[in-house]
């Protein structure tokens, strides 16, 4: 049974020392993964091992889940289990995890999540975020010579699964943004080069001022009163767009940005993000700490993370 601390589940309660393969000599990733699944099946019962193995391989071959320096977190959803199951393997020499990953992986944290538990993997991953970012973690754990010591490491680190996912757990950093003094010209360049549909506008302090969207741009080029005309002749050569091009370097973002966008607080439950997507029918929700823009959640990414990861 998962141990709770202040309504959060301790990560160490999701596995025991019996679920740990300590300092393995196996060098092949696939074989090691199969070994871990077999061990978990023996200890806990996880249903069809071969089916789980194939699903795991398919995912890892597509996108290897190396989450930190020397740390991999392969995961799979299974119908046969009803709670999160964790298996751990360490390797002193490290394993070549994927062709594109240069650094050998020394710590593998395999997470099996119930199929009907959306976000469970993300909860597990978010609880390990801190140790995953430490470059020494993989080396330290790989040097522990007994399964009990490995278990103690995770137990003493105090990692807990939060009661629920938060917006900050599923957001991505904002890499494309505009400054409030930018013009429409810069916005159009970003739309075209990065193939995005909306770009946030921030002030010098990083506070979110508004969002410039391709939809708003289209509305400026083709406002309602032009759309009333059924005959296309007045716009057949894109005359309204020519107008915009003439003035793009003089048009401030304040004129075209919209205040109609979805935001969630960093520490809001991830379900709040879902609610904003549904209520406002948007593709992106911006994550704020106060007024400062800290991240973005796209609907596609959200669905992928909750329903498939």
């Amino acid at each position: 049974m998962a141990a709770k601390v202040n309504n959060s589940i301790r990560f160490s309660s999701l596995f025991t020392s019996k679920d740990v393969i300590c300092q393995t000599t196996e060098t092949d990733r696939n074989q090691l993964l199969k070994q871990m699944l077999t061990q978990l099946a023996l200890v806990r019962g996880i249903g069809d091992v071969e089916e789980a193995y194939q699903a795991l391989l398919e995912r890892e071959n597509e996108i290897p889940t190396v989450v930190g320096p020397g740390i991999a977190m392969p995961h799979v959803r299974l119908s046969a289990i009803n709670q999160i199951t964790v298996g751990i393997a360490t390797s002193q020499k490290g394993i070549k995890y994927a062709p594109q990953i240069e650094k050998p992986v020394k710590l593998i944290i395999m997470t099996l999540v119930p199929k009907v538990a959306p976000g469970a993997y993300l909860q597990a991953m978010s609880s390990l975020a801190k140790i995953c970012q430490d470059p020494k973690t993989a080396d330290i754990v790989a040097e522990l010579d007994t399964a009990k010591k490995v278990w103690d490491f995770f137990d003493q680190s105090g990692m807990t699964l939060k009661e629920h996912l938060r917006a900050s757990d599923i957001m991505s950093p904002v890499t494309i943004k505009l400054q409030e003094h930018d013009t429409l010209e810069r916005a159009i360049d970003l739309f075209v080069h990065h193939q995005v549909r909306d770009v946030p506008v921030v002030d010098k302090d990083g506070n979110l001022m508004g969002v410039v969207t391709t939809h708003e741009l289209l509305k400026i080029c083709l406002p309602d009163y032009i759309l009333w005309v059924e005959d296309l002749t007045p716009i057949i050569n894109f005359e309204p767009f020519a107008e915009i091009l003439r003035k793009e370097s003089k048009t401030w973002l304040a004129e075209i940005m919209t205040m109609d966008y979805a935001t969630v607080a960093e520490d809001a439950p991830a379900a709040q993000v879902a609610k904003e997507f549904a209520k406002q029918r948007v593709d992106h929700a911006y994550v704020l700490r106060g007024k400062t823009l800290t991240g973005v959640v796209s609907l596609a990414m959200f669905l992928n993370k909750i329903l498939r990861e």
Binding site: I220, C221, L222, P223, D224, Y225, I226, W228, V229, E230, D231, T233, P234, I235, E239, P240, E243, I244, K247, K250, T251, A254, E255
Partner: protein, 485 residues
Amino acid sequence: MLIMLAVSFGVGVLTHVLKLNNQQIISCSVFIMVIMATLLFWEYRLPIAFLGIGVLVGTNVLTLPIFIRECKLDVILFLVGMMVIVGVLKDLGLFTWIIQSVIKTPRMTGPMFVVIIIFLAALMACTIDEVTSIVFIATLIFQVCDTLKVRPLPFIIIAVLGTNIGSSGTMLGNPVGILIGQNATPPLSFIDFMTWSFPIMLITLVSSMFVLLWWYRKEINLLSERLFARREMNLGLGPLVNVPYKRGLAIFAGMICFIALHHYLERGLGLGPNTVLIVAPLVIAGLLMLWRHQRARHYIESNVDWWTLLFFMMLFAKAGTLQETHVTEKIAGYFQQAFGNRLSVLTPAVIGISALGSAFVDNIVFAAAFMPVVNKLQQTPLLWALLQGTCLGGNITMIGSTANIVALGMLEKRYRCSIKFFEWLKVGLVVGVVSCIIAWGCLSITSRYMPTLQQRLQRATLHVKTPHLTEPEIARSIKANETLH
């Protein structure tokens, strides 16, 4: 629902005290129920109106022949024709051209913008209809305010007030106009409206404009500053395209001329009063739909507001039962007892009561109920007083007129903001009172020049080609017309 039942019950008790018979009590109660439904359950007004007809027919207060006669199919078909024409004009780019003409006005200032929107709203409400007018003017306001980043609410209110005032200018602008014009005894013509109502509309419009220019001076000044700043940057208020507007303009001008000359056409063809007026929009709509046959179905299905028209039909039928059960006669009698026969008292009374009534009840509802009362009083100026009162009263509250509700709905949808009841009431009351007083003054001056009921009846009989009518036959014809209407 409880409030509705309580009000209806209260009306029932009151009508019993006033010694109305059972049929009269039922017709009053159902009519009041529909009014309360309009106030409290706006989205369900049509289903409630349907049920009301069922109650009236089920209790034998209303028979089917009377229902068919009283639902004013002539008014409904007139509106259908107008709605189709508006759809065609929109497709042809006429309204786009009008909006672009405003947007590209050189050296635009805040006050100039207000003058333009108030006059444009009024004139469009005069010639097309108030709802179409406010939809187009609101689009113009949103475009300008979005570009300049100013609050659109004050300008929307200005446009709505102008629309309601303008809709009293002709019988085209507001269903109230065509209802009063068509159901007066004898019917009023387009020329009558241009002679006796349009000038009053212009005077009230100008005076209301000055009130509004002062009331919203801060917002108008801000608009001026933003317009100036934008001009300095050599930027316009919106994209401009070369719209082929001439066909739309020609159709629009042709429609107005056709309708304006209906009186002469009817006389020449020996048709009854307002026959050409009612049928003209249908004929024009038919021709337009033949020309643009690919879009004909779209115009009928999407441009004609069947929901509203069906509601009007049910409402008119219910108002007709008040007349059939002689409730309106009794009310007219009490009215005369209370206010006498003197126009100097009756005119402000009708303006005041109809303004106050239509402030809280949709003006078409009030006009439908009060029209038979005014007819019974048999004084021509009172018809104009009813028109002015119901149109101008629609400005007093935010629920007074369909144009108000449509405009505020558009504002809420676009900006997710709404206006409080008293915020509107402050400016609406001032404009409403000022315009009603001016209308009263104008009617007091012009009433002595208006034709009397007998003169209008005589003129109406001259429509029909009967060169060999003797005087007794003319007199019988007058009486027959009176009975018919």
